[in-house]
């Protein structure tokens, strides 16, 4: 099979046994890769009502179909399991180099079952698999973990996906680091590794991923190399990275500030992209991508050290740990980001759980006695780093935050509902649905809880010249739609682009390389899929894959007990924006939102009232084996 190994590795940690599944082309053509392969095995293997931190949970690492080839901007792999943060589908993507390396090591995915009786790491080298002792590094941060594995194996060319103390202590929003600076950040999948006594998966491969039409791939890769500096978004991402969003979100009055109670932050300029330049030592990127959107920062002073090997803060981090907590000290945010990365804590959830505690403190719902003496005023620079440490090690007051905002809020009381910002238990990312109304549907409908990458973002479709609108014509989206609209046209846009995004995840494509936001046209991915696999495929077939995986994700959540009423939005987003240029505007109408959610169900072939996929839709998508 071209582009694929045809083999998936299963590791049962309880039995310390490995097994290799040989998969047919029809399997790959149906589920493709990434979350498609992940969901197939989760639906097969994860029992209903499974405790996510029990040996019954199943963890799948799956690169995309194009990952590991020379196809441009396709470096990603997905990690899937039942999430300990949400109890729903856990799904998180990362770029970097780990996914391509796994493909070169001979496997299209790794499935991890059971629980080891002592700490271990998995070593995969050119098709050979070992389960090795990790007891000496169980409590180690990611940097020391990687160094130890290099030393223990005598191999420095390994790609290591691992967890720090956040993961080993089962913090419910712990992520997974690979290459120390790439993260499957969201949904607490690092805690699932921790619960299995699995410290790391280290991979190395020397095989070439064979493709059907090398010249075609080379031609498209060259086109991307020649054009990424001419496209507004890929150029901006290369030059300034995602931090460029801090200043513009602030200017437009939608920068989450003081746990979202305000939308403009007076310290925005001091934490934005321009200020970050002072600490920038390098632009970094991922396998097969010339854009290099990642910032690498360093501080080397006697009073403050930040190591460059842990990367640098993204927009989400600068907002979540910065304006959202009232912090205007960029060096502090850079250090906080580095600590989260060493400990493998998701920076969005970490910032949001701290800002929520600050909001409770400011209302007198928490006191210094509750917090172990920490004065949790917004903007207090003294508390951020100690709290991150406490969360990662489940110590002191941080222990209460380590289970996420929803569980912590339940201990504080009912008064917090107006400023509790999570969906299905996952803290909202840094995009305001009152300004980008489609985000309300993304937060409510993403199977993994509040997520900003379930579909495409509203501002890219507001005029005929908009980048997004001109790019998605092949999907049949032809008319501009206002960013604050939440009517049927917006629902259709969210539906189609949610299929598109699932398709990208299955292919291993990064949003920053592909339309609707960025450079590479949709049809190029059809050509790339053909060139990699030799399949006579089409945009229709690939979009159907996206739709199939979206419905499989829905089915997984239904089986885990989720209902239509879980597809909701935090109360705050039904209220008007406070302060800034949009003061008094923007509250989402609750009934319109509910109608839009139900319309999405209906358009997706799910029951309008319950949100459960109909048997007809499951059959149409070729999911007969998953029919009830």
């Amino acid at each position: 099979m071209m582009g694929l190994n045809g083999t998936i590795l299963k590791v049962n940690l309880s039995e310390r046994e490995t097994e290799i599944y040989e998969c047919a082309e029809a399997f790959y053509r149906t589920y493709i890769g990434g979350p498609g392969i992940g969901l197939y095995y989760l639906l097969k293997k994860v029992p209903a009502n499974c405790d996510p931190l029990s040996p019954d949970n199943v963890l799948v690492f799956a690169p995309g179909l194009l990952t590991g080839t020379a196809a441009p901007c396709a470096p990603r792999f997905t990690v899937c399991a039942k999430s300990p943060l949400t109890n729903a589908l856990g799904k998180s993507e990362a770029g970097g180099f780990w996914g391509p390396e796994l493909k070169k090591a001979g496997f299209d995915a790794v499935i991890v079952e059971g629980k080891a009786d002592s700490p271990v790491y998995i070593l995969i080298v050119d098709g050979k698999v070992e389960i090795r002792d990790a007891s000496k590094i169980w409590d180690a941060e990611t940097g020391e973990t990687e160094e130890y594995i290099f030393m223990d194996t005598g191999m420095k060319n390994l790609e290591v996906a691992c967890i720090g103390p956040g993961g080993t202590n089962c913090v419910r929003f712990a992520g997974i680091a690979s290459g120390l600076s790439h993260f499957n950040g969201r949904n607490g999948l690092g805690a699932v590794m921790g619960s299995k006594n699995l410290k790391a998966i280290a991979v190395c491969g020397s095989r070439r991923v064979e493709v059907s039409d090398k010249e075609k791939i080379k031609q498209i890769a060259q086109w991307v190399n020649q054009n990424y500096r001419n496209h507004p978004l890929s150029f901006a991402l290369h030059e300034k990275g995602t931090p460029i969003g801090i200043e513009s979100s602030n200017a437009s009055g939608c920068l989450p500030t003081y746990n979202w109670s305000q939308s403009v932050f007076s310290g925005a300029e001091s934490i934005g992209a321009e200020a970050l330049e002072k600490y920038l030592v390098k632009r970094d990127g991922c396998y097969s991508c010339p854009i290099k959107c990642k910032r690498v920062v360093e501080i080397d002073r006697p009073d403050l050290k930040v190591e460059r090997r842990y990367g640098g803060p993204e927009y989400e981090t600068l907002a979540a740990l910065g304006s959202n907590c009232g912090i205007r000290n960029l060096e502090l945010i850079i250090k906080a980001n580095e600590m989260c990365n060493r400990y493998t804590l998701d920076t969005i959830s970490t910032g949001m759980v701290i800002s929520f505690a600050m909001a409770c403190y400011s209302r007198g719902l928490l006191t210094k006695e509750d917090t172990g003496g920490l004065e949790l005023e917004f903007g207090n620079e003294e508390v951020i780093l100690p709290l991150i440490e406490q969360i990662a090690y489940r110590r002191g007051f941080g222990k209460m935050l380590a289970d996420g905002t929803r569980r912590f809020a339940a201990q504080v009381g009912q008064e917090v509902k107006n400023f509790l910002l999570e969906v299905k238990g996952q803290e909202v990312p840094m995009h305001d649905p009152r300004v980008k109304a489609g985000m309300s549907l993304q937060y409510a409908l993403a199977p993994q809880g509040a997520d900003h990458w379930f579909a495409q973002h509203d501002p890219f479709f507001t005029s005929r010249e908009s980048l997004g609108l001109t790019a998605v014509a092949p999907l049949g989206i032809l008319e501009p739609i206002s960013a604050t609209d939440i009517g049927p046209d917006k629902v259709r846009l969210i539906l189609y682009t949610s299929f598109l995004n699932f398709m990208y995840d299955c292919l291993g494509v990064c949003v920053f390389g592909a339309v609707a936001r960025s450079l590479i046209p949709i049809n190029y991915f059809v050509e790339l899929t053909q060139a990699v696999t030799g399949w006579e495929t089409s945009l229709w077939e690939l979009m159907k894959v996206g739709e199939r995986i979206n419905t499989m994700a829905r089915l997984f959540n239904v089986r885990q007990g989720f209902k239509a009423e879980d597809d909701k939005l935090p109360k705050l987003f039904f209220q008007l924006i406070s302060g800034g240029p949009l003061d008094g505007k923007g509250g989402i109408d609750e009934k319109t939102f509910r109608d839009a959610v139900q319309l999405y169900y209906e358009m997706a072939g799910w029951d309008r009232a319950t949100g459960i996929p109909t048997n007809g839709k499951l059959l149409e998508l070729g999911l007969k084996e998953f029919c009830c």
Binding site: E239, K240, E247, E316, W453, H457, P581
Partner: protein, 82 residues
Amino acid sequence: MSTLVKVVVELKSVLKQWRSDLVSGKSEFQFQEGATVGEMLRYLGLCHGEVGLVVVNGEVANEDRELEDGAKVELYPIFSGG
């Protein structure tokens, strides 16, 4: 005879690199009375998706917004958070 309006346009961040001829990033332009934000962007050659946000006198503006004499316009580049 038609009246002209003067506006000061400030280019933020990477937009300065698209128009490197506007050295300081802040320049004064004259347009016909009634000119809109959209027409201004086309005149500046920044109508291909480069601009993600237009702020006129501190308010978020869409492309139909007419420019008044003395307006201060800030243009922010398109961005994508992640």
